[in-house]
């Protein structure tokens, strides 16, 4: 043992290797650090208590490449500012309200993509699955007179089952996910055309349940403000109770000042949104559904052992397997969830458009859904990301298309700009990943 300690002392002085005098200092300091048996490493940059510590910690995170949602929030601010400057109708209540409904459809699909990206995989079939779900609903309900509830369940189930089929081929047979879901992209688009038959486009009744999903507004003032209040209070309570419990057990907790700042930021955002929405028709049901899904699935990812397993798989499959995680089951379930969310998104889109058509689920829907997840900050490399990136990414993409439409810019330019934004997002992801590596966070 003694030989090793001697070597340990010699190591840094050789490694530091500048001048003999300088190098001797760290060699002397070493045994002292050894005697002091503490769990916390003395080299750790401990965050100071209070608000100032929060700011310095924030700055350090930014520099080390742990950017989180900051680039996308800055991006949204710039996009909104530019469009508002070009056309004052952009931030008008009507446009924002329409935007909030627009987010829901593709956003739902994007949430499923976030789960797949967390695994470090990809799903190309979600666009076709969403179209198929809409077609299933329309054919069953409108053409065959099946009760709407059953038709909705059948449409959602089709997505979940077909997603599980992808998962089976990927996880159990070992076919690359890219190929499986590419096959799905073609096959399910074909199946949708088959299901629709010669009819082409099937309209959905205006007073049907599916139509209400995006057509209904809670027009009372209290609805939007009430929802904002509940969200703020719920957030504060959750954070506060968690901090109190942590303090009671004696593990580091967030200081109250930080919780208050976070709550205040959230409150400003949700109350501003509520105010704008109330200026128009009120709180859209579509937005409520989307946010509710986000909150539930965010909870699943961060607070359940299922979510922990998904993230573990994105980090290291081998480690997850050794820890006793059923890799095959988790993979199949994630693809099934992606399929379910795609079907849900397909219904939301059909609801907004008012019909199921042969074009549903084609075009750039798939690319938008994947782009939204990545733009929102979920890593393509697996294991890092948040369900909320579906919302943030959709805000970017939706704002661009909505603003461009206002300005009367052609689709061609819109696609090019969205493509540029996607590239920027992936560049930020790759660069921040590299910076995080060198800062030891990746």
């Amino acid at each position: 043992m003694t030989t090793n300690v001697d070597k340990a002392n010699g190591g840094p002085s050789n490694g530091g290797g500048e001048g003999g005098n300088k190098a001797s200092a760290p060699a002397d300091a070493n045994p002292v650090a050894k005697d002091a048996v503490t769990v916390v490493d003395p080299r750790l940059l401990v965050r100071q208590e209070g608000f100032k510590g929060y700011l310095t910690e924030f700055g350090r995170k930014m520099r080390s490449g742990d950017l989180g949602a900051v680039p996308v929030i800055v991006g949204i601010a710039i996009i909104w500012a530019v469009f508002q400057w070009k056309d004052s109708a952009f931030l008008s209540p009507k446009n924002l309200s329409d935007l909030s409904i627009l987010l829901g459809g593709t956003g739902m699909i994007s949430v499923g993509i976030v789960f797949v990206l967390l695994l470090g995989e990809i799903d190309l079939s979600v666009g076709s699955l969403s179209g198929l779900a809409a077609a299933t609903l329309a054919v069953l309900n409108v053409n065959h007179g099946v009760p709407e509830g059953i038709a909705v369940v059948a449409a959602l189930a089709s997505g979940a089952v077909l997603g599980a089929v992808h998962g089976f081929f990927f996880a159990k047979i070992g076919v690359p996910a890219f190929v499986v879901t590419l096959a799905g992209l073609l096959a399910w688009n074909g199946l949708m055309l088959q299901v629709l038959g010669t009819t082409g486009t099937i309209s959905i009744d205006d007073d049907s349940f599916v139509r209400t999903l995006t057509a209904h507004y809670f027009s009372q003032l209290i609805a939007a403000y009430g929802a904002a209040t509940v969200a703020t209070a719920g957030f504060f309570l959750a954070q506060f109770l968690d901090a109190r419990r942590r303090k009671a057990v004696g593990v580091p907790a967030r200081p109250l000042s930080e919780i208050l700042v976070r709550t205040a930021v959230l409150a400003v955002i949700v109350f501003a949104a509520a105010w704008r929405l109330n200026e128009y028709k009120g709180l859209p049901l579509g937005l409520v559904i989307f946010v509710a899904v986000l909150v539930i699935l965010d909870f699943v990812v961060r607070r359940t052992s299922y979510g922990r397993k998904v993230i573990a798989l994105g980090g290291s499959v081998e480690a997850a397997r050794r820890a006793g995680i059923n890799v095959v089951a988790i993979r199949i379930s994630v693809y099934s969830l992606a399929g379910l969310m795609a079907a849900f998104g397909g219904l939301m889109i059909a609801s907004r458009v008012g019909s199921a058509s042969q074009q549903a689920g084609t075009g750039n829907l798939l690319m938008e859904a994947i782009a939204a997840a990545v733009i929102g900050g979920t890593s393509l490399f697996g294991g890092r990301g948040s369900v909320w990136s579906a919302l943030l990414g959709m805000l970017v993409i939706g704002s661009i298309s909505s603003g461009m439409n206002l300005l009367g810019v052609a689709n061609s330019v819109q696609y090019m700009i969205t493509g540029g934004v996607l590239l920027a997002a992936v560049v930020i992801d790759s660069v921040s990943r590299r910076t995080q590596r060198s800062a030891g966070r990746g």
């Binding site: 340990a8 048996v37 769990v39 916390v40 490493d41 607070r303 993230i311 573990a312 820890a323």
Partner: protein
């Protein structure tokens, strides 16, 4: 050092293992007692990893008996070994880089509270565990990626301790570590022994073996090639047993006397 008189925790009696035409292990005997560090050494292909796999239940033996606390047991799956109280830390650690220390320690055995991850309790238990093992890491809430190789190794070992095992098998814990990190891990191995655990340490590094092991079991070409008491054996003798360079009557006699001395 402190060999408990009442029998070994783990005893291997006549373990053999074949892979197709290769006889990987032939009639291996090994005993490990509580509060003892047994180093398992041998050249590449000597059968160290194969032997460990038979103990850990990854690749069960073809012949021979595995005795756990004096009773013959069947270890056919990794799960069986864990049930008995055998924890294995493999060379590649199997940690998730993107998850923090707490998450990795409890990966696959999360503590739940009303169906939800109980992060507070897991963090408290993690700090407690690291404290009792005197493991120094910057924080339990940073991703594994930010830790040095030695710190990762200590986290992996700490994780094996969560199941409260009686025997810990460490596969090359100091390979690819710097000098100070090696010292950290060896300190930890000593603490495991002081807590009354039996430790099997696989290593190529004679300095490490001399530093912490009580006994050295040498494997050569899938057979026992002597068990030595570290205190009374020189490094050269162990190395010649490993390489077989002096595989003659003299060394065989020495190996025998080594076993008698034990």
């Amino acid at each position: 050092m402190a060999i408990v008189p009442n029998g070994p925790v783990l005893a291997l009696r006549g373990i053999s293992k074949r892979f197709g035409a290769v006889q990987a292990l032939t009639d291996i005997h090994l005993e490990v007692h509580a509060g003892e560090v047994v180093a398992l050494v041998g050249d590449n292909g000597a059968g160290k990893s194969t032997l460990v796999k038979t103990i850990a239940g990854v690749g069960p033996a073809d012949e021979g008996v595995l005795e756990w606390q004096g009773k013959p047991v069947q270890v056919n799956r990794p799960h069986d070994a864990q049930e008995l109280g055998i924890a294995t830390v493999y060379q590649d650690l199997a940690l998730c880089d993107n998850i923090d220390v707490v998450g990795n320690l409890f990966l696959g055995r999360e503590i739940l509270r009303a169906g939800v991850l109980d992060e507070v309790e897991m963090e408290r238990r993690s700090r407690e565990l690291l404290q009792t093992l005197s493991i120094r890491i910057p924080s339990v809430r940073i991703p594994i990626a930010s830790l040095s190789g030695g710190q990762r190794q200590t986290v992996a070992i700490a994780r094996s301790m969560l199941g409260e095992p009686k025997l810990v098998i460490l596969d090359e814990p100091t390979a690819a570590l710097g000098v100070e990190q090696t010292a950290q891990v060896l300190d930890l191995v000593e603490r495991l022994r002081d807590r009354g655990l039996a430790v099997v340490l696989i290593s190529h590094n004679m300095a490490d073996v001399k530093a912490v092991a009580d006994r050295v079991a040498v494997l050569r070409l899938g057979r026992n090639n002597g068990t030595f008491d570290v205190k009374t054996t020189s490094q050269e003798e162990i190395i010649s047993a490993i390489t077989g360079a002096t595989d003659n009557a003299v060394t065989r006699r020495k190996a025998r006397t080594g076993e008698v001395a034990k």
